[in-house]
């Protein structure tokens, strides 16, 4: 247990100690080697890198250097990432074998290890994080501490103003006062639909009931989105603090964090964070000597996308199949075990403490008219800088994809960007300059969703993409209501027909009819939005659908049934490179013979097309 006084002292002392983390001119002889421990870097051996650094430092008896594990830095494509502070040197694609050299050259001799420095898209060698184009247009609020603090040390969180907002709220603000600030800030739910957060808090507070609950939706299931996971991995305390603030505002003393069991690192760090907060007396009875008490429990999901839907999530916390409830009543009126319940997602919570500390005005000065603040996107697909980015609302897709993301690799053309995952839509080239906010995305047929942003180049077939999302929805539909259970299956069957060259023009009409009716009559958000990927691709790429349906033709290699890869005899020089690279030995010919593709063996992977130096192979 720590008294408030002790926490204040701790904060001051720690802040000084950690100044080098945020201040390149910090007055210190110490150095911190930060090693990213997000899931991405962990998958490519960052724990071994950390161990290796520690071992070498110990062997060499170096005492003024500390090795710190942090959350995600964002630029996952360049992982594993190591940053050395205070000078802010950014090393990318580090392996455990590189540690010796980094210590020897950088730490001992004070020289940069050039070969590990990151090259920016323009080919320039980057010395420090700030120089990277990737970071220049970003603004980090929700990700403020990610990559700065050690997520497993509450002291480091406290050093950077952690739990200061909670103290302010408990000591200086009324419940309504807190809600007013959140309302004025203009913060909207980051989980998908963008419901005003302050309004949600107000409604839950206004609901009658002795017992109320605060729930954190950390069931991020959108395939290809990992914002929430990164926040939990990099800054778990920010979520706990916000849940407590929400608990105070609505009058709840109990919180649940519903997190996917597939996120073991996030779960582990949350557990550590909860235990540390309990040890300090921050979570528990009479927080900071006030009447307010609060405790949090973790509930693990077990692999069902639909549980990201708030009422399905509640069912799952209650130990049942995650089948959504018909709304109204909304959780604010009747939630967990029928009690008024506030549900926000991780990223929404990650903004709360900052809003309380910096004020509603500060927050609402960022973003657009209707959408305030920043949004975190998981940038993926055919883009150079795959990773996690946080930008002010109103940033255009072009800025994200080209300025931050570094554009499309392999010299290909941009075809579409997908936002909102299985609930969202595809955005074509003509809308690249749309400033992104909740309304504008909706207008162009997509949605904000939780923040997945997948870029696709011109080798991608849009009918296949629609099929991909429908496959996802069909396998994740809970099966409760008819339109989603059977309707999405029928849509998928039609898309499969189209991709197999067995479709007909009438299929496009059927797709549209099903789509509209499923949207309108499904019970929950999953079903209501399941047709979106089809509707938006039909809107912008209708011609491609018609080619599939009528000409039985796919311009890409993705629809295998319709693809036939052939070698142009005229152009083939018999070099045999294609043969060498073919994974299934489907190319016949010896010596300087013109090569021929054995169509029975060919799996249409396209490897030969990209390896042919004479552009002799095509679909």
């Amino acid at each position: 247990m720590k008294s408030l006084q002790e926490i204040h002292e701790l904060r001051e002392e720690k802040r000084k100690e950690l100044d080098l983390r945020v201040n390149t001119k910090a007055d210190t002889r110490e150095k911190h080697i930060l090693v990213c421990h997000g899931t991405g870097c962990t998958s490519s051996k960052s724990p071994q890198i950390l161990e290796s650094f520690r071992k070498i430092l110990k062997e060499r008896n170096i005492t003024n250097v500390r090795v710190i594990k942090t959350g995600c830095f964002g630029l996952c494509a360049k992982g594993p990432i190591v940053i050395i502070r205070p000078e802010d040197t950014f090393y990318s694609l580090v392996t455990p074998d590189d540690c010796e050299e980094i210590i020897e050259k950088h730490i001992i001799n004070g020289e940069r290890v050039e070969r590990l420095l990151c090259k920016d898209i323009d080919g320039k060698l980057v010395n420090s994080l700030d120089e990277l184009n990737f970071y220049k247009k970003q603004k980090r609020i929700a990700l403020k501490n990610c990559g700065v603090v050690n997520p497993e040390e509450i002291d480091e969180y406290i050093a950077f103003d952690g739990y200061k907002a909670l103290e302010k709220v408990l000591k200086e603000m009324s419940q309504d006062g807190v809600i007013d600030v959140i309302k004025e800030s203009g913060l909207r739910g980051r989980g998908g639909a963008g419901f005003p957060t302050g309004k949600k808090w107000e409604l839950t507070k206004a609901s009658e009931g002795e017992q109320k609950y605060v729930v954190c939706n950390a069931d991020e299931g959108d395939p290809g989105a990992f914002m929430d996971r990164s926040i939990l991995e990099g800054d778990p305390h920010s979520v706990l603090e916000a849940m407590m603030i929400a608990g105070y505002a609505i009058g709840a003393n109990k919180g649940y964090i519903y997190v996917r069991a597939e996120y073991p690192i996030a779960v582990q760090r949350l557990k550590i964070a909860i235990n540390q907060a309990r040890d300090y007396g921050i979570l528990g009875e009479n927080v900071f000597d006030t009447d307010f008490s609060f405790d949090v429990e973790i509930r693990l999901g077990a692999g069902a996308f639909v549980c990201g839907e708030e009422t399905a999530l509640l069912e799952s916390i209650e130990g049942k199949r995650g089948q959504p409830r018909v709304k109204p009543p909304y959780p604010a009126q009747s939630g967990l075990w029928g009690k008024p319940t506030l549900i926000n997602n991780v990223e929404t919570y990650a903004n709360i403490a900052q809003i309380i500390l910096n004020g509603a005005k500060w927050y609402s000065s960022i973003g657009t008219e209707s959408s305030k603040g920043t949004k975190v996107f998981a940038l993926g697909g055919n883009v150079n800088n795959i990773g996690l980015v946080e930008v002010p609302m109103g940033t255009t897709l072009r800025e994200i994809i080209y300025d931050i993301g570094g554009g499309i690799p392999n010299g290909r053309e941009f075809k579409a960007a997908q936002t909102g995952g299985p609930s969202g839509g595809c955005i074509p080239k003509e809308h690249l300059d749309t400033p992104i906010d909740y309304e504008s995305l909706k207008e162009i047929g997509s949605m904000m969703g939780s923040g997945g942003l997948i870029v696709m180049d011109d080798t991608k077939c849009m009918v296949c993409l629609a099929k991909f999302y429908l496959e996802f929805t069909v396998s994740e539909s809970c099966g409760k209501c008819t339109p989603c259970r059977i309707g999405t299956k029928r849509m998928l069957e039609i898309l499969e027909r189209l991709c197999n060259g067995e479709g007909e023009e009438l299929d496009i009409y059927k797709l549209e009819k099903l789509a509209v009716n499923i949207q309108e009559s499904s019970i929950c958000g999953l079903g209501q939005s399941a047709p979106n990927p089809v509707i938006s691709t039909l809107k912008y790429f209708r011609e491609e659908f018609r080619q599939h349906a009528i000409q039985k033709e796919c311009r890409t290699l993705e629809c295998k049934a319709m693809a036939k890869i052939t070698i142009d005899e005229e152009k083939c020089k018999g070099c045999g490179l294609c043969q060498k690279h073919c994974p299934v030995n489907a190319i016949d010919g010896i010596g300087r013979d013109k090569r021929i593709i054995n169509q029975e063996k060919c799996i249409k992977c396209g490897t030969c097309i990209s390896t042919c130096p004479f552009h002799a192979i095509g679909n």
Binding site: V326, S477, G479, K480, R485, K489, K510, E520, I523
Partner: protein, 583 residues
């Protein structure tokens, strides 16, 4: 307090209904019949199938009329083009995944899906595609599950899990693969099913039905060497008429007997007589146990679903069960012993058919305890529905039949026997006899209003011969569970407990005519059938079992006295602990 009233407009009509009314019910009040499929009043109100969607002005998406309630000033449209198209698509989708073998389906003509398809003029399936396939479970003696006809309305699950608190079936898998199943898709035979059949009553299609055994009856009826005797339960006569379009609660006993005779049964007897016999034994058992304070409360044992339930779930309470067989089993035992002796027949050439409102009786009949010298007490149990089918197959115009009487000598019954068919009836019948036995008088007060009515649990304290007797009548297995927990924890001090597995008693049994969701929403089926039963009792000359002359003669000639050695042998039984899951 006056309930707050809400004003709204539905399809241009002004409607005023109490706060909390659903849009569906408000529309009903305005004479607008919104189609439903998964909705089953008080049992399944979840809004899954989406047939009942309507448009509400100012609201995004459709409203779910079966569960969402009215709001002041609401403007509802129930048949806009959008709504109609959506309903049509939904119906199309449901049918696309449904086995469309209507011609060979037991529910043809009484299928809610078929009714809707007709109403919406579904002439072809626009969105055809893959169908989920399920193997048929017909291994149990009572229920056949054919989930190729299931439409995932989940009414059966609600009946099993929520109403009966059994949970033998539930929804498994997810998405298109979702289906209703037992654990591991094992047969109902091997899981915790009690065979109450409430799932069948809830099913809108032919996915759940009784294991039909009428072919065996036809064969025996045509066999000149077999004497085929039929007995009919008290609840059958007040429901059979419904299968022929007669109003619910019509007593068709006379027509029923005529029909049975026309079908070729050699003798037509009344299970009510068996019920009188049960009372003779059960009242005696109660009086003996009451005097000795032996394993009180004594709990009735004439509902076989209930017996299977306690054997599986509360084996430690089995000593509380009355050892009496159920009325048709007792009667069957007499028909295989006393009756052939008296008539000079070979017992092995007698085939006893029981017409029952119950499908658990199909299971009960073949319990090993239910036979004597290798002869089963009862050889076949058919349901009210199956009897109706037989009558139709035999080209009998039921509505036009003359009345006739049950055969003598086993055809006369008291009013006490008649009320066995409804919850509280066994208790009341037993009390009529027990109070006379305990006081040694012929008491005129025979109506025990406290144990009548539709509530699931009816508690009363009855004063007999200066002694207070705490009784309770519970129907529905969820209520049974409540009572058993009270007994187990020692919280309650009952002396006599009546339990029936089906909510409302045998008149609402799993073998009774199936009423559509629409009818169940509009009328109280239980009450109408129960009223008919009580009116039979009221009009009876003999209203106490022990005053039935048949009983007097039977005991004088054969059984000696209630609880005699021979009575114990033929009319009483034993129970065994039963595993819930044999998997």
């Amino acid at each position: 307090m006056e309930k707050e009233m809400i004003n709204l407009t539905i399809d241009g009509q002004k409607v005023i209904v109490p706060k909390g009314t659903t849009i569906l019910n408000a529309a009903k009040k305005a004479g607008i019949d919104i189609p439903t499929l998964c909705f089953l009043k008080d049992i399944n109100e979840v809004g899954d199938c989406r047939m009942c969607i309507v448009e509400v002005e100012g609201r995004r998406g459709f409203a779910t009329s079966c569960i969402q309630t009215v709001e002041e000033g609401m403007v509802v449209h129930t048949h806009t083009p959008n709504v109609l198209e959506a309903r049509h698509v939904i119906l199309d989708l449901i049918i696309s995944n449904h086995a469309k073998d209507c011609l060979t389906c037991t529910r043809s003509g009484n299928c809610e899906l078929q009714t809707l398809a007709t109403k919406f003029n579904v002439l072809n399936i626009e969105f055809d595609g893959e169908r989920t396939e399920h193997k048929i479970d017909d291994l149990s003696p009572s229920i056949v599950r054919d989930f190729n006809k299931c439409i995932l309305c989940r009414r059966c699950v609600a009946a099993c899990k929520n109403v009966q608190k059994i949970g033998a079936i539930d929804c498994i898998n997810r998405g298109f693969e979702s289906c209703i199943s037992t654990v591991g898709d094992h047969s109902l035979n091997d899981v915790n099913c009690t065979f109450c059949g409430q799932c069948i009553e809830a099913c809108p299609t032919g996915a759940l039905h009784e294991k039909e055994t009428i072919n065996d009856v036809w064969v025996k009826l045509k066999d000149p060497d077999t004497t085929v005797i039929v007995q009919t339960a008290p609840a059958v006569r007040v429901a059979l008429g419904e299968e022929f379009g007669m109003p619910i609660g019509t007593n068709v006993v006379g027509k029923m007997v005529t029909a049975l005779k026309r079908l070729g049964f050699d003798k037509v007897f009344d299970t009510n007589t068996g019920a009188d016999l049960t009372i003779m034994e059960e009242a005696n058992e109660f009086v003996e146990r009451f005097k000795k304070n032996d394993n009180l409360p004594m709990i009735t044992s004439c509902s076989p679903g209930w017996v299977k339930y306690i054997e599986m779930n509360y084996p430690e309470l089995l000593p509380h069960l009355s050892s009496c067989k159920s009325p048709h089993q007792m009667f069957g035992a007499i028909l295989k012993t006393y009756y052939p002796k008296r008539e000079g027949l070979d017992p092995s050439k007698i085939y006893v058919v029981s017409v029952m409102p119950c499908i658990a009786k199909k299971f009960e009949r073949q319990r090993p305890e239910m036979k004597e010298d290798d002869l089963y007490d009862v050889d076949n149990v058919i349901t009210t529905r199956e009897l109706a089918r037989m009558i139709k197959q035999a080209n009998i115009e039921f509505e036009k039949l003359e009345d006739s009487n049950f055969d003598s000598p086993m055809g006369e019954a008291s009013g006490a026997g008649a009320i066995f068919g409804t919850t509280g009836g066994v208790m009341e019948a037993a009390l009529r006899t027990a109070q006379d036995t305990l006081t040694g008088e012929d008491l005129p007060k025979i109506d025990f209003e406290q144990v009548r009515g539709g509530e699931g649990i009816k508690r009363a304290t009855i004063n007999i011969a200066g002694k207070e007797i705490n009784v309770v009548a519970a129907s529905g297995l969820a209520n049974a569970k409540t009572i058993l927990e009270e007994i187990k924890s020692g919280k309650a001090n009952y002396q006599f407990v009546e339990i029936m597995a089906c909510p409302g008693g045998c008149i609402m049994g799993g073998g009774q005519p199936i009423k559509s969701s629409k009818i169940r929403a509009e009328v109280d089926v239980r009450k109408l059938r129960a009223d008919a039963i009580y009116s039979i009792d009221e009009r009876s000359i003999v209203r106490k079992s022990h005053e039935n002359p048949v009983m007097k003669k039977l005991y004088a000639d054969f059984l000696e006295k209630p609880g005699s050695e021979i009575a114990e042998k033929l009319l009483h039984t034993t129970y065994t602990k039963r595993k819930k899951y044999n998997i």
